[in-house]
């Protein structure tokens, strides 16, 4: 078996539909300009459409057009908002495939770095079991909310973004970038479950969050260990993590901004070994991107244009 695999090699059963990772990457690098955002999404329109056809995301696309992810990502989950259920299921499914890729990332670290210290392998092995349980938990929660595995396309950009071939960068990407994002998302899910009085979801996600804090701690400790006595290596690793954090901020959807859909879980991250300086930096990195107003306007334009085009096509077909 070779060392290091590409995200496209991740093995999936027939239920899964793969999504082009380009969309997620594009979202993380959008400028704060309505016209550019609209242009980018119109350009990606056919790819986005092809990716959702035949999945449960198709109605969202029909309703909102190619910019539907802008609305999904940037509006906080609200049980009373329109399309609350499909949006909740889309988020749950995203978490499920995120856990899957976290399991694969931790497990690959056992094979990709055969000469790593035993204590590192112990931590990664423990994480494999935890992520495997998380996968089982989120499959059950998905069903609990009325969904199922494979109902939305999977983008493997999380694995792509963080699975570096350098062990320090791997743990920085997987255990601090990806697992840190998990802390933010899960704290938000607990808030949502509190609002809806969903005790099943609240307790399960609370346990998962406890595990994730441990995984971030593994990352905090191993980045230090792998880069000790080599400040240049530490710098490169921190730069890599910043890059990952930027991609995982989805253009400000996960940030400290007041209008953020997913706020940064400060307390949880502090407990997991992030420093105040790192959190300050994360706040700055993730806050860069289009404002919510820009994205809302762009989403509205994309939606209107999509419906106009559809209408024109239908009229053309019937005449």
């Amino acid at each position: 078996m070779k060392r290091f695999i590409d995200h496209e090699e991740l093995a999936r059963d027939s239920r899964f539909i793969r999504q082009d990772a380009a969309q997620a990457n594009v979202i993380s690098s959008l400028p704060d300009d309505v016209e550019t955002v609209v242009n980018v999404f119109e350009q990606f329109g056919p790819i986005i459409e092809a990716g959702v056809r035949g999945t449960s995301a198709e109605p969202l696309f029909e309703e909102l057009g190619p910019g539907f992810m802008l609305t999904v990502l940037n509006e906080p989950l609200d049980p009373d908002a329109p399309a609350a259920v499909p949006r909740l299921l889309l988020r749950m499914h995203g978490i499920f495939v995120g856990e899957l890729q976290a399991l694969e990332g931790a497990a690959r670290s056992l094979w990709d770095f055969p000469d790593a210290p035993w204590e590192f392998k112990m931590n990664m092995a423990r994480q494999c079991w935890d992520e495997a349980r998380h996968l089982q938990i989120f499959e059950k929660l998905l069903v609990h909310l009325g969904g199922h595995v494979g109902m939305y396309p999977e983008s493997t950009f999380l694995f792509e973004a963080c699975c570096s071939e350098d062990p320090a960068m791997r743990v920085a990407g997987v255990n601090r970038g990806l697992e840190g994002l998990a802390c933010d998302v899960f704290r938000d899910m607990i808030r949502f479950a509190n609002k809806t009085g969903d005790e099943v979801m609240k307790q399960a996600v609370d346990y998962v969050l406890a595990d994730e804090i441990t995984h971030v701690r593994f990352g905090s400790e191993w980045v230090k260990e792998f880069t000790k006595d080599n400040p240049e290596h530490l710098k490169r690793t921190q730069d890599f993590r910043r890059e990952v954090d930027k991609r995982f901020s989805f253009g400000g959807a996960r940030s400290d901004r007041e209008d953020a859909a997913i706020p940064i879980a400060r307390e949880d991250r502090l407990e997991a070994g992030f420093t105040e300086e790192e959190l300050q930096e994360l706040s700055e990195i993730s806050g860069v991107g289009p404002s919510k107003k820009t994205l809302s306007e762009a989403a509205q334009i994309l939606r209107d244009r999509y419906h106009e085009t559809r209408k024109a096509q239908q009229e053309g077909a019937s005449s």
Partner: protein, 227 residues
């Protein structure tokens, strides 16, 4: 004698046993005898740890390349429990005079066994779940269970009791792993062709394992078959 010190020491107790024997039932019939001295056991523990550590690594490598979700999640648990086993074996080494830094020591008994392990880890593509699992759950783990149990029968039951304790716990878990692996393989091999693939893989690896002399390099006498 006014003060009661041992049962059977005063008239009223009327026991026929000698005073001290009341504490000695059942008698310790074990003998101080074992096939392995400290050095030999230390080497065997390093051999065992070599197999366990490589199992952790190869199963970790496979998780991303196996399409079946229940196999991915099941392996997650087996990986962690196997890592715990390797860890326990490592902690035994300093107790066997291997030095304080021997916690991470592992040693292949010979190059043939190291080659065998590499062959077990070889299958890579998503269509080879049967070949992956058969190597570990039909061949390697059953072999380890057999050798661990043999070690426990043959080592000094009193002097080497700490190793016995570790291996007994490992064997209990390995039997659960084998059962899980067999269930998955039985489900995956549901026609003649897949069943033949499983048999071919197990036979090929059992042959290599036998040639290598197994995890300790010296297949013990009296074994009719490996598994």
């Amino acid at each position: 004698m006014s003060e009661r010190m041992y049962p059977g020491l005063t008239q009223e107790e009327r026991t026929g046993f000698a005073p001290y024997s009341a504490f000695d039932i059942p008698a310790d019939l074990r003998e101080l005898h074992g096939r392995y001295d400290v050095e030999a056991t230390a080497l065997r523990v390093r051999n065992f740890r070599y197999a366990e550590e490589w199992m952790v690594m190869m199963m970790g490598g496979w998780v991303a390349t196996i399409p079946e979700i229940p196999v991915k999640t099941g392996l997650g648990k087996v990986i962690w429990e196997t890592a715990q086993a390797a860890d326990e074996l490592g902690k035994r080494l300093p107790e066997l005079r291997c030095g304080r830094k021997s916690l991470e020591a592992s040693e292949a008994p010979n190059t043939a066994f190291a080659d065998f392990i590499q062959e077990v880890s070889n299958p890579e593509t998503p269509d080879l779940t049967i070949e992956k699992l058969s190597g570990v759950f039909d061949v390697l783990i059953p072999h380890l269970v057999e050798i661990y149990e043999m070690h426990n029968r043959e080592t000094d039951a009193i002097c080497d009791a700490p190793t016995i304790e570790i291996l007994e716990h490992m064997v209990r878990r390995k039997r659960q792993h084998i059962q899980w692996g067999q269930e998955v393989l039985d489900a995956l091999c549901d026609d003649d062709e897949t069943q033949q693939r499983r048999r071919d893989r197990a036979n090929q690896l059992s042959g290599l394992l036998k040639e290598s002399g197994g995890v300790t390099g010296v297949l013990e006498t009296g074994q009719a078959s490996l598994n």
